[in-house]
Amino acid sequence: MWRLLREGLRFYRSVLLISWAFAVSILLLVLAAIAVVGSAKDLADLQRSGVQLPLAILIASMVAGFITLGTERSEDRLRLHLSLPVPLAHVALARVLLPAVLLLVGLLVGHLVSAGAAALNGSSGVWSRHLMLDFVAVQLLFWLQLALAVREIVELRRRTGWAGALGPKALVVAAIALMALIQLGPWQGIPIRAAVAAGLVVLVTGFTMALFLHRTQFTR
């Protein structure tokens, strides 16, 4: 499984780096626009907050994750992976972990950038920034994993018809509602929200894997 994941990361690392480069370029353009159009105070406030660059890297990593999902599907990678003498559970795990790991690499780099910015600026509230970054990352990861779950439901529907996929569809709707509640509900503090959201991501990932392992058709 790790070999499969490592090979996937080797293939998509350029996608991740290009996504980061795009994100940083766009951020610099936005900052330049603010410097020209806005006031010096606007720019100073933005720089002081120290979250733009880590967030840009995180979002770019999510985009790379979605590109990964699309490419794996369009190139029919499953076909190649299923020709290998690897248990199906390992293929399933590598499939869900590949986009997740890209996002987590982005999170790690985001934390490093955030810590570096804090050290340079000597600004306060460093831990709350890190926690906020974690919370955002977990939410982005949720949408990545949900995309995989939806794909499995589409496969299930193809096999069993509309009614057969009703239960899994309801679970996906419930997961989305729960995520909305985590974001908007009367919760106190980011850590608890991040922890509950992380739990939800694990559940969605497990659900996706279960659907994959129960497939009876692995062709498009």
Binding site: R3, E7, F11, E75, D76, R77, L78, R79, L80, H81, L82, S83, L84, P85, V86, P87, L88, A89, G161, R215, T216, Q217, F218, T219, R220
Partner: protein, 296 residues
């Protein structure tokens, strides 16, 4: 059948809305090439996918060299090479990088074998997959399927859309692989001339059911077109699957040449002439005729 079969399908059934494959019982001995013939939508690819583990049957089971086709213990894949309509290669990697990727998963992978085959087929290993022509892609798929030295090769339309030169090259390689007598090939194709060259046996599939399995030589030996003259307007002749009358001459297609000729002599037919049929013609007659044609 002696010893362990290259593959066996035991009562395999796969149901789709509006189509059911099987039940299929099929086995292949090592050292044999089995041609799989049928019209579009007859279930050829689904059958191959059941052996390759890409489709899980609703009933029945599949084995490769005695090992069950089961994704929980994928040891059977070490003995299996598959060339299908889709391959799943990393398109922005070179052919070489894709082969290196595969080599990391197969303990029996041989770079020497792979490079020998690539040279033999003129495959540009340094080219990115996205820049390979259809012919080169087919060659890469074949090299990739053979890299780990599988004893069973499943080929699903491997020469579809290829020009005659590339097709001949691919067939030459398959022919060489068979020389050791240990490899088995299950070959599904519409190009019957490929099968005419390679196959030892043929299986005819229509609407999800096996119509007939026969040795290729037995088919070409038994099937024939026979013309004759006979005073009677309508005749029922043994072994015939098609009949037509052109003025005074009767013409039949027979699946049992000897029996038909013996019967015609008994009936007092004159000017009996027979011509051999090609595999293409026999296949068309069988697939058009269905069960009643396959039965003799």
């Amino acid at each position: 059948m002696s010893g362990v079969g290259a593959f066996t399908l035991n009562g395999v059934v796969k149901r789709y809305p509006g189509f059911t494959l099987g039940p299929i019982d099929l086995a292949l001995d090592p050292g044999t090439v089995l041609g799989f013939v049928g019209p579009n939508g007859s279930g050829k690819t689904t059958t191959l996918n059941c052996i390759a583990g890409l489709v899980v049957p609703d009933a029945g089971s599949a084995e490769v060299f005695g090992q069950p086709v089961d994704h929980r213990s994928p040891a059977w894949k070490a003995d299996l090479g598959v060339v299908g309509e889709s391959h799943g290669f990393y398109r922005s990697w070179t052919a070489e990088e894709n082969l290196r990727f595969l080599s990391r998963f197969f303990p029996a992978w041989s770079d020497q074998r792979v490079h020998g085959l690539a040279d033999r087929l003129g495959l540009p290993l340094g080219k990115k997959v996205e820049h390979l022509s259809k012919g080169h892609l087919a060659k890469l798929a074949l090299v990739a399927a053979l890299g780990h030295g599988p004893r069973l090769l499943l080929l699903d339309e491997p020469t579809a859309g290829l020009d005659p030169v590339v097709r001949a090259e691919v067939l030459d390689v398959l022919w060489e692989i068979l020389e050791d007598g240990e490899h088995a090939i299950f070959y599904s194709t519409h190009v019957l001339s490929d099968i005419a060259r390679l196959a030892d046996e043929l299986v005819f599939l229509r609407e999800g059911s096996v119509l007939l399995r026969s040795a290729k030589d037995a088919l070409t030996e038994r099937w024939a077109r026979i013309s004759f003259r006979l005073a009677e307007a309508d005749v029922a002749v043994t072994g015939t699957v098609e009949y037509r009358r052109v003025r005074a001459e009767h013409q039949v297609t027979t699946a049992d040449r000897d029996a038909t000729i013996a019967n015609l002599r008994e009936l007092g037919a004159e000017a009996i002439e027979q011509s051999r049929m090609t595999i293409d013609e026999i296949a068309v007659a069988i697939l058009k005729g269905g069960d009643h044609v396959a039965a003799p």
